[in-house]
Amino acid sequence: MVLYNFPFKMKIAGEIVFPTVAKLPEWATNAAYRNAVAMPGKPEIKVVGPFSESGLGKAIGFPDAPETMDWDTILSWVKDIAPIEEEQIVEWMQTATAANVICSRFMDEYKRAGSLVVGGSGDPYIPGVKAEDLKFVSERGRTVGDRGYGVVSTPTGNFNVPVPGKATGIFKNILAWGAVLESFIKQWTAVLMKFRDLVTNPQNRISLPSFRGLTAPIFLTHSSSIPAPANIAEFSVSTNKPQAVVLRARNVDDYRDVLFEDKVTLQKGQNVIDYPVFGFPVVPVMVIELAPENQTNTILDYWTAYP
């Protein structure tokens, strides 16, 4: 048995909820640490190598898809294998397929790190887009286009996703992300991802999925081996261009509660960051959100918590 912050399944106001769960170390159950706060120190950042896409995951179901994060390359491959000239192929299917290749690869990389994220892309009008108990509300493309946003419905509330654009759905016990890539008269193409079981201090490379330039964040659990008033998070991020990554530390008991927010400026290439975190009375177990800039290819190489 493993300790988690939330149960596998909950019932809230009559609705069944499958929450985003985080694994907790034994020490986190100590009542004295349960209201701990945290703030960051000044990070040390070193560029240690060039940007590389090696060692990323495979897209199950798409074994012959190009092994790259580049949206245009993947979309162009889809257009080659399924041209619109075919009677049953329409434009949104190509976009959704390219997005599914990226989602599938991200799911594989997240699983490789010992955890679970679910997601997919399609047309929310018909046949519909869902990820476990999250779904895009089925509406016509023109309706969402005119209104300016599509709606993601979850058992604990809704969040709106701009058309086109992206949005993160943060609830007390659910972490999700949605994007709308395009809209036509009836059809529109959306991506929906739900983090089901958060990865703790991942040691394998995880690429942050980017769909038509809209880059998704990654969530992970920062967990030190013993309770300590100071931690160092040593992590490495590879990026194909200079950018400022937003880092938010969230409370494991309520993901809406931001313990601190920071911006980490990265150079092109592989950046190793020594990131001090101070806590009172100790640095709590935290959910870290890393949100890169749009139009970037970003890879989290690893995340280690000391002590």
Binding site: F8, K58, I89, E132, D257
Partner: protein, 350 residues
């Protein structure tokens, strides 16, 4: 590590941290209680040349069974079941009186157990235009109406995930299984598709509902009609089995093919004899096959039987027994194709 003294917080940080700590309101003091749960460790298996990472189908095993290897080994070897006793409650099968759920994606289509009941309505309301709406999308939508409703019914008790769409592009995938991308022309020529799952590569013949059963994995796949380059694929994966059913759960009927159903059959306490009781609705007389599968390796069928289920609502009871105790068993039910079947309750009484 040596560069940093973990025993101290820098003086300029301590004040703000303490202020932040004491400023947190009473709402922040209310913390969730950590819970113990099953370990859902990701496992991996080589399928052809692909390393597939997956989460196994979990069983909510009772402590008395999980911690006693004699029950999990000898109990399974000695397992047996008695005669199926079927009692009809009513001959009427009325879908409006059975508390099945609406599709959370498409609630406007009402209660639907079979795709054939909703497909004409979708085709009429959203006609194909050749530029945005094409034929396979109606078929996939009808399937999603049925599947998402069944998913929410099972999820009242545990967790089941489904996916339906075009097996070529955009592709069909659920958490740990996917259809291999294949153009509809080839699918029609070969007469089937291939599913990649923890059970390996499984060929799913056209218009066939295939259980996908691995050592630690339960799911199923259906390959449907082809539309030129497109074709319909449907996947269902059991994330965690239910150990009782207390609210109605329908069996998905896709193009007349009925999906299998899996539930953990386990008494609440250690016993050498128990009774399984089910309440079933069926729209016609049918034979439902039951396979009892080994919880240590789902591929092993310990025993199997067939129940004559009459039209309407019936109770089905049978005795299960074993020594040293009745073990937890995976109960795999398979109604006949072409039927509409709903399981209202499933319980194991000591």
């Amino acid at each position: 590590m040596e560069r940093f003294d973990f025993s101290k917080i820098p003086p300029d940080k301590l004040g703000p941290l303490m202020a932040k700590f004491f400023a947190r309101g009473p709402a922040a003091m209310v913390r969730a209680t950590p819970v113990q749960d099953l370990v859902a460790q990701t496992r991996q298996i080589l399928v052809g040349e692909t390393l597939l990472r997956y989460t196994p189908t979990q069983l909510p095993l009772a402590k008395w069974a999980a911690e006693n290897p004699r029950i999990m080994e000898q109990g399974i070897a000695n397992f047996g079941f008695g005669e199926f006793i079927v009692r009809r409650i009513t001959e009427t099968f009325d879908i409006n009186r059975i508390p099945i759920k609406l599709s959370p994606l498409f609630p406007q289509f009402g209660k639907v157990l079979a795709t054939e009941d909703v497909l004409p309505r979708i085709q009429q309301e959203i006609p194909p235009d050749g530029t945005e709406i094409v034929e396979w999308m109606h078929d996939a939508t009808a399937t999603n109406v049925v599947m998402t409703a069944r998913e929410s019914e099972y999820n009242v008790h545990s967790q089941f995930v489904t996916g339906a769409g075009d097996g070529y592009i955009p592709g069909v995938r659920v958490s740990s299984m996917a259809f291999q991308k294949l153009p509809g022309y080839h699918y029609a020529r070969y007469g089937g598709a291939t599913v990649v799952s923890p059970a390996g590569r499984t060929r799913v013949p056209r218009y066939t509902m295939s259980p996908i059963i691995g050592k630690d994995f339960l799911g199923w796949a259906y390959a449907g009609k082809d539309y030129g380059i497109q074709w319909k694929g449907v996947l269902g994966q059991l994330i965690r089995l239910a150990d009782r059913i207390t609210q109605a759960v329908g069996f998905p009927n896709i193009d007349g093919r009925v999906a299998p159903f899996f539930v953990l059959q386990q008494p609440s306490r250690e016993t050498q004899r128990a009774t399984v009781r089910m309440v079933v609705d069926s729209n016609k007389d049918q034979r439902t096959r039951i396979a009892f599968r080994d919880p240590n390796d789902y591929r092993n069928v310990i025993d199997e039987g067939e129940i004559e289920v009459p039209r309407g609502r019936s109770t089905v009871e049978f005795v299960i027994a074993s020594y040293p105790a009745v073990p937890p068993i995976v109960n795999h039910m398979q109604p006949e194709n072409g039927t509409k079947t709903v399981l209202n309750t499933f319980e194991v009484r000591r």
